[in-house]
């Protein structure tokens, strides 16, 4: 029924397009979306992966598989795949008749090149670690790609659906950053740096043509300016609206559709487990008990957010609600502190990135810590430069706060080295077990166990999950409501009544 209506709407819009003057038709098939952070380059397989993917993933670049709007893996350039019983061999059947936007055909050789490029010693793919289990890549015939793994990795296909693993064409890799060449439905026309990237529908696309003729990514970082751009009609979609206090005005405005969806961003206050007193689990638990996360969310995010008790966001397919584990309880916090030998509290340095959400959260946490006698001295850290160096690389910190945006990234707590300096063999074993899982149930069980372990160990104070606040023109359909992958997939977006 819905599908039927959409088809009708599409044919109606087609008729309208034929009837209208060419210039108007072009305008009707155009959508501008806001991207707050301008990517460094447009190639999601090198450097700054998140922002690049938010512009070009699915629009310009496609992968062997893709994560859909519900977080499920879907075939894309691979039509199907088999996994051997030992979980060490993945055979993909590739789609035929696909070519890149520079005319080169896509086949198993290009796929092999793209995957091997991620794994190469001189690879600059920021997500390389996710694909580390791949030992070798074979292309027995043009439509078959075989991945041999050194150890089972049950999430591998999921990761292959991510922006970091999109298929690239060998001759274009040096220029993909500024002139991306993908297999997607849109190709880049122009990138006006600091301002916008313009993409238009590409004739040679292998799949169903998108409804839109042109999509424009507008790089507007200031929420106030985003509001202005929406209201003046300069942009039609803001997938991740960063100012919750300005969000509610759109909910009551009939000209706009809004959705408070689930994102993948978890804001956590990591602690350096190698530095006393944070090496004492009771101290970490006490600090967790000290914070009223609902109040924190109210103050920092105008109430738009969900308290979390472990590292997964409610939108994650493996989410377990553990937010009640160490709830707000100053008395329990004080008792734990006394037990740990700090009845009068202690003092530490809170290294906070100079970003609004982090600074505001830190100020509130500071006030909560003061209630249990703990003094947090806030030290601003120039983000990202100084923070990455100081906290992330040199682990020269007591406590910090940061949002982790990558989905399914609970494995960071098993990484060594990683800035928490957290080490729990039981957790590491759980991660290995998840990788070796052969059934979805086994994986889910593993992830549940992993979440429970860190909810108890608290390598970081789990604060809140940021919602994905989306606003778009009410005349549009097909905008992603949730954000299983940070992206602006415009391929299904279309105007309803024009």
């Amino acid at each position: 029924m819905q599908q039927h209506f959409r088809a009708l709407a599409r044919s109606a819009s087609l008729a309208a397009m034929i009837a209208a003057t060419p210039a108007l038709a072009l305008a009707a098939g155009e959508v501008s979306f806001v991207q707050s952070v301008e990517p460094a380059g447009l190639d999601p397989t090198v450097s700054s992966p998140v922002a690049a993917g938010q512009v070009t993933w699915q629009n310009v670049f496609e992968g062997l598989v893709a994560i859909d709007r519900d977080g499920q893996v879907q075939p894309q350039l691979a039509t199907e795949w088999q996994v051997s019983d030992d979980g060490l061999t993945y055979s993909f059947t590739l789609r035929e008749g696909v070519s890149f936007q520079n005319g080169v055909a896509f086949d198993s050789a290009t796929a092999k090149f793209a995957i091997e490029r991620i794994l190469a010693d001189d690879s600059t793919n920021g997500q390389k670690a996710l694909y580390a289990a791949i030992d070798s890549v074979e292309a027995p015939d043009p439509t078959t790609l075989v991945l041999k793994l050194s150890a089972p990795s049950s999430d591998l296909v999921y990761w292959l659906g991510f922006p970091a693993a999109v298929m690239v064409e060998p001759s274009s890799v040096d220029t993909n950053g500024t002139a991306p060449v993908g297999t997607g439905p849109f190709k880049l026309d122009e990138w006006r740096k600091g301002d916008r990237a313009i993409m238009s529908a590409w004739d040679g696309y292998w799949g169903e043509k998108p409804a839109l003729d042109r999509i424009v990514a507008r790089f507007i970082s200031d929420p106030q300016a985003q509001v202005a751009a929406l209201k003046s009609g300069q942009v039609q979609v803001v997938a991740e609206f960063s100012a919750p206090e300005l969000f509610d005005q759109f909910a009551s405005d009939a000209a706009f559709a809004t959705h408070e969806g689930t994102g993948e961003m978890e804001v956590v206050a990591g602690m350096n487990a190698e530095r006393p007193p944070f090496d004492d689990i009771r101290v970490r638990q006490a600090l967790m008990h000290a914070i009223d996360r609902n109040l924190l969310i109210e103050a920092v995010k105008s109430g738009h957010g969900t308290p979390i008790g472990s590292h997964f966001a409610p939108g994650s397919p493996f989410y377990v609600d553990l937010s009640g584990e160490y709830g707000y309880d100053p008395e329990a916090a004080k008792a734990l502190l006394a037990e740990a030998g700090h009845p009068d509290g202690f003092e530490f340095t809170f290294k906070v990135p100079n970003r609004a959400y982090a600074q505001r959260s830190a100020e509130i946490m500071q006030a909560f810590f003061a209630q249990i006698g703990v003094t947090a001295n806030i030290e601003s850290s120039d983000f990202p430069a100084a923070w990455i160096q100081d906290v992330f690389q040199d682990t020269n910190y007591d406590m910090t706060i940061i949002g982790h945006a990558e989905p399914l990234d609970i494995n960071i707590y098993a990484r060594d080295p990683y800035y928490f300096n957290y080490d729990n063999p039981e957790f590491d074993e759980t991660m290995t077990a998840i990788a070796a899982a052969s059934t979805p149930e086994e994986r889910a069980e593993g992830y549940a166990r992993a979440q429970t372990i860190i909810a108890h160990d608290l390598p970081a104070l789990f604060l809140y999950s940021e919602p994905r606040l989306a606003v778009w023109d009410a005349g549009l359909e097909g905008v992603w409501e949730n954000g299983p992958v940070p992206s602006n997939d415009m391929t299904d977006v279309h105007w309803v009544n024009e």
Binding site: D222, V227, E298, I378, E379, S380
Partner: protein, 272 residues
């Protein structure tokens, strides 16, 4: 008795008020400037405190009061340090002349050609945000200002008869500088201290606005404005108080500087 210049009276009054508020904030504010109260979040003037409450429900009036301490403290410390170094450079250049003067003033010229905020941001990147960074960045930029003014003033003194007489009497350059030059240029330096402290408050606010100033929860007018921008349509009152505080403080110090100048150098009174 000569009538006091009007600017001196107004400027002095504002500055006294500012210093008074800053000092008072150390012992008393209407509410704890760091105590949040989410129930009062973004409430307007009157609904919660005299000037309303900020994004986490802190009393704006109290933060503005406490912010005076930060602003004045950073600006004044920076000006004193920059003023001392700059004056030293200036009087040395004037006393020694020759190659030393040329080198000093050339270095001064290089320093003068860096756009202030940009070099401050560079320093912020180097040292990390914080009070020390602000003081250093603002202080460094004041050095060439004081160096130029004190050199010009000192050179005039050096040309005067009584200094020449002291030289004839065999007094050394350093002694003459301390005994004759500095006492005679100190009025001009004090005038500049007032005016530059005002500019220092502006710079501090700018740096804090860009996230390079003092760390929270130390109240800062510049950071208040940065926060206020986020809530500009939800809580416009947050934009007014800190900006007014900055403007009034700078105005007061400028007027004080002008007034002092008029007082010590009456010839300039009609010209400016």
């Amino acid at each position: 008795m000569r009538r006091l210049p009007l600017s001196l009276i107004i400027g002095g009054a504002i500055t006294a008020l500012l210093i008074g508020a800053a000092l008072l904030s150390r012992v008393w504010t209407p509410a704890d400037p760091t105590a949040m109260n989410v129930l009062n979040r973004l409430k307007g003037p009157g609904e919660a405190g005299l000037l309303g409450a900020d994004q986490i429900g802190r009393d704006v009036f109290s933060i503005v009061m406490a912010g005076a301490w930060t602003s004045l403290g950073v600006a004044f410390t920076a000006t004193i340090i920059g003023g001392a170094v700059g004056t030293l450079v200036g009087v040395t250049a004037a006393a020694r002349g020759g190659a030393i003067e040329r080198v000093l003033m050339a270095a001064n010229g290089v320093l003068f050609s860096f756009p202030p905020i940009l070099s401050a941001i560079l320093l912020g990147a180097l040292m990390g945000p914080g009070a020390l960074t602000s003081i250093t960045a603002i202080g460094i930029f004041m050095v060439p200002v004081f160096a130029r003014i004190s050199r010009a003033a000192a050179m005039q003194i050096w040309a005067r008869d009584f200094v020449q007489a002291a030289r004839m009497a065999g007094k050394g350059q350093a002694l003459i500088t301390v005994q004759h030059v500095i006492p005679n240029i100190q009025a001009q330096i004090i005038v500049q201290l007032a005016i530059q402290t005002g500019l220092g408050i502006l710079s501090e606010a700018g740096l804090s606005f860009l996230g390079m100033g003092v760390a929270p929860p130390t109240p800062s007018w510049g950071r208040m404005l940065a926060d206020a921008q986020t809530y500009i349509s939800a809580a416009p009152h947050l934009v007014l108080a800190p900006g007014l505080a900055i403007a009034v403080a700078v105005l007061g110090l400028n007027l004080l500087g002008d007034g002092l100048r008029d007082l010590t150098d009456p010839r300039r009174r009609q010209a400016s």
